[in-house]
């Protein structure tokens, strides 16, 4: 097996005295989508945020996270991102007071040429609504903006937190397609509840349970095994969203 693009070892996070992650270890393969699964509140978002260095002030992070030879923890977020770590947060976090175009302009990184064509081709809506304040976009439109924002730049790894949440089925399909295409060139660590999307995209899967890794392996295998999905995710593989 090739070198992982990201390796997380023994990651522990405590926030306000609560042990939220307790020694999580997993690797992200250099190609394709690695999906992070688990029930509500197991710590998926916490994991992603710890990787990009956004643990809240009262939190405490232990363990190691490496991208290649580079250790990520303790480096400021903006450095990590400039170094090619793209992050799409769970609740979109578009800048409500800025227009769509301004949101995109903000994401440009110095020294690179932003791929506006690519983004506008994926989400024509963003082009059309360039002058609308992002805060007045619908939920789905905001999600497009949040994804479009990271795709302006070349990344070495994308962290994407529940991108299809609150999206219409048609857009879910579109987003899945976008991610699929993106994953051809950049590895993606994806948190996703929609198992249909997982089935379509994921190569590897990491399942968290109560702050620990409960299972790692091939995602398709996981979805095939009804017993496994039942015990890990609480659903039979047949019950995934249509």
């Amino acid at each position: 097996m090739t070198e992982p693009v990201l390796s997380v070892e023994n990651l522990s996070v405590r926030i306000a005295g609560l042990h939220i992650l307790q020694g999580v270890s997993f690797d992200v393969a250099p190609t394709g989508v690695t999906v992070l699964l688990g029930r509500n509140g197991v710590g998926k978002t916490t994991t992603l945020r710890a990787i990009v260095g956004l643990t809240p002030r009262n939190g405490e992070v232990r363990g190691t996270v490496r991208m290649g030879a580079q250790s990520l923890l303790a480096r400021p977020t903006h450095r990590l991102v400039r170094g090619g770590l793209g992050y799409v947060p769970e609740d979109r976090c578009v800048f409500a007071g800025l227009t769509v175009t301004e949101n995109l302009r903000l994401a440009e990184r110095r020294g690179t040429s932003p791929a506006y064509d690519k983004v506008y081709a994926l989400f024509p809506e963003l082009d059309r609504r360039g002058r609308q304040r992002a805060g007045s976009l619908s939920g789905g439109q905001q999600q497009m903006l949040a994804i479009g924002r990271v795709l302006l730049n070349d990344n070495r790894l994308l962290l994407v937190d529940e991108p299809t949440k609150g999206l219409a089925p048609k857009v879910v399909t579109e987003v899945a397609e976008v991610l699929e295409r993106v994953a051809e060139s950049v590895p993606v660590l994806l948190v996703e509840q929609n198992l249909a999307v997982v089935r379509r995209l994921a190569r590897d899967a990491v399942v968290l349970s109560a702050g620990r890794v409960a299972w790692t392996g091939n995602a398709q295998d996981l979805l095939l095994e009804t017993a496994l999905t039942k015990s890990l995710l609480g659903v039979g593989s047949g019950e995934v969203h249509a």
């Binding site: 409500a96 007071g97 805060g135 007045s136 976009l137 939920g139």
Partner: protein, 371 residues
């Protein structure tokens, strides 16, 4: 509809609800009585001749010390009342000084200029102050966030201008208005009776703390806490945010007016200091210093602030400071320099206020106990 919150004034850090603070089981049975014990101790304090050199100028029962304590207690109460707005409901008013000033000047003018007996003057003033708060609140609450803060500031500024203008020689302008004590009960006049003023101040503080505690533990208090977090949601739950905010505003205004009345008696007059916007800012400082939304934090903050405010003048002129080299002694002899520096340090070293000190010290004490 967007789901983005406007950049309003952020809610102050919330109090940790009682049920969340663990590890006080031994004290649990006694805790409800702690306030009572504190009250009794404070009430019998004037019988003590203990000398705390450096802390107070004279023994605890000396008039100077009692006067200082009385002022501190009034401000403790004032801060607790302000916390009803700021810490419990999340309303940032920059005009709270107005209602305090209304109490001070109202009482003074009614007693000195109109010659009313004290109880009538006090009753009229407190009623008037409460009505004033209700009226101005009704207007100001049409805005939210910073706009609300600024409208209240504007109203308070009008009060300050009116006092300074000295219409009809009523307020004495910048010179202030000494209280005419001839009609006052003898027990409230004269240095030897300072202890009665102390008890009055203590009673005021006790009333405010009781009211704030009861109100914030009441069903209405629950709504106020909800307003602090999400006003829109309160509306959708079927409660009128405006009404509840107005009640809190009026109540806090009334409490402040009552504080003004007590303060007027203690200080024996009114001066335009009490109308300044700095006073509101200091109230904010007191509350945050103590810990917003906690029962004792604002009280502690108010008491400590006023204590420092009064005592630092003595500190600045003390020999210890004067013997320092000039680059130190000059700033240190400016009380405001020391006070300002103390705030800044307090913000850094007691985030969450003095009230959070106990929780912050818990690891330390448990570690010590284990040894």
């Amino acid at each position: 509809m967007t789901e983005v919150k406007s950049p309003e004034v952020p809610a102050p850090p919330a109090a940790v609800p009682d049920e969340l603070t663990p590890g006080h089981s031994r004290w649990h049975g006694l805790r409800p009585y702690a306030p009572l014990v504190a009250l009794v101790v404070a009430a019998i304090l004037p019988y003590s001749t203990v000398n705390l050199p450096g802390v107070f100028e004279g023994p605890l029962n000396s008039p100077g010390t009692l006067q200082l304590l009385a002022i501190c207690l009034v401000f403790g109460g004032l801060a607790a009342g302000y916390d009803l707005l700021f810490g419990r409901t999340g309303m940032l008013s920059f005009g709270h000084a107005l209602y305090f000033a209304a109490g001070v000047y109202g009482t003074d003018v009614l007693v000195t200029r109109a010659g009313l007996p004290l109880w009538q003057a006090a009753l009229l003033t407190i009623t008037g102050g409460t009505i004033l708060a209700a009226l101005l609140g009704a207007v100001a609450l049409r805005t939210v966030g910073i706009a609300f803060a600024m409208v209240t500031l504007a109203f308070a500024q009008v009060g300050a201008i009116l006092v300074a203008r000295d219409f009809g020689g009523l307020t004495g302008g910048e010179e202030g208005l000494p209280l005419d004590v001839s009609g006052l009960p003898a027990a409230l006049v004269g240095v030897t009776n300072t202890v009665n003023l102390y008890w009055l101040a203590l009673a005021y503080l006790a009333v405010v703390v009781l009211v704030v505690h009861r109100v914030s533990g009441s069903p209405t208090g629950r709504v106020l806490a909800g307003l602090r977090d999400d006003e829109r949601r309160i509306g959708v739950l079927g409660l009128d945010p405006y009404r509840f905010k107005l009640v809190a505003f009026t109540l806090a205004g009334g409490l402040a007016t009552a504080g003004g009345t007590v303060y007027c008696l203690i200080v024996g007059g009114a001066s335009p200091h009490v109308t300044s916007s700095e006073l509101t800012l200091s109230l904010l400082v007191m509350v945050v210093l103590g810990g917003p939304g906690t029962r004792w934090g604002p009280v502690l903050g108010g008491v400590l602030y006023m204590y420092l405010d009064h005592r630092l003048t003595a500190f600045g002129t003390s020999d210890a400071v004067n013997s320092l080299p000039a680059f130190l002694s000059h700033p240190l002899s400016q009380p405001l320099f020391v006070l300002g520096t103390v705030f800044i340090l307090a913000v850094y070293f007691f985030p969450g206020g003095l009230a959070s000190l106990r929780t912050r010290l818990t690891p330390l004490t448990t570690a010590l106990r284990r040894r």
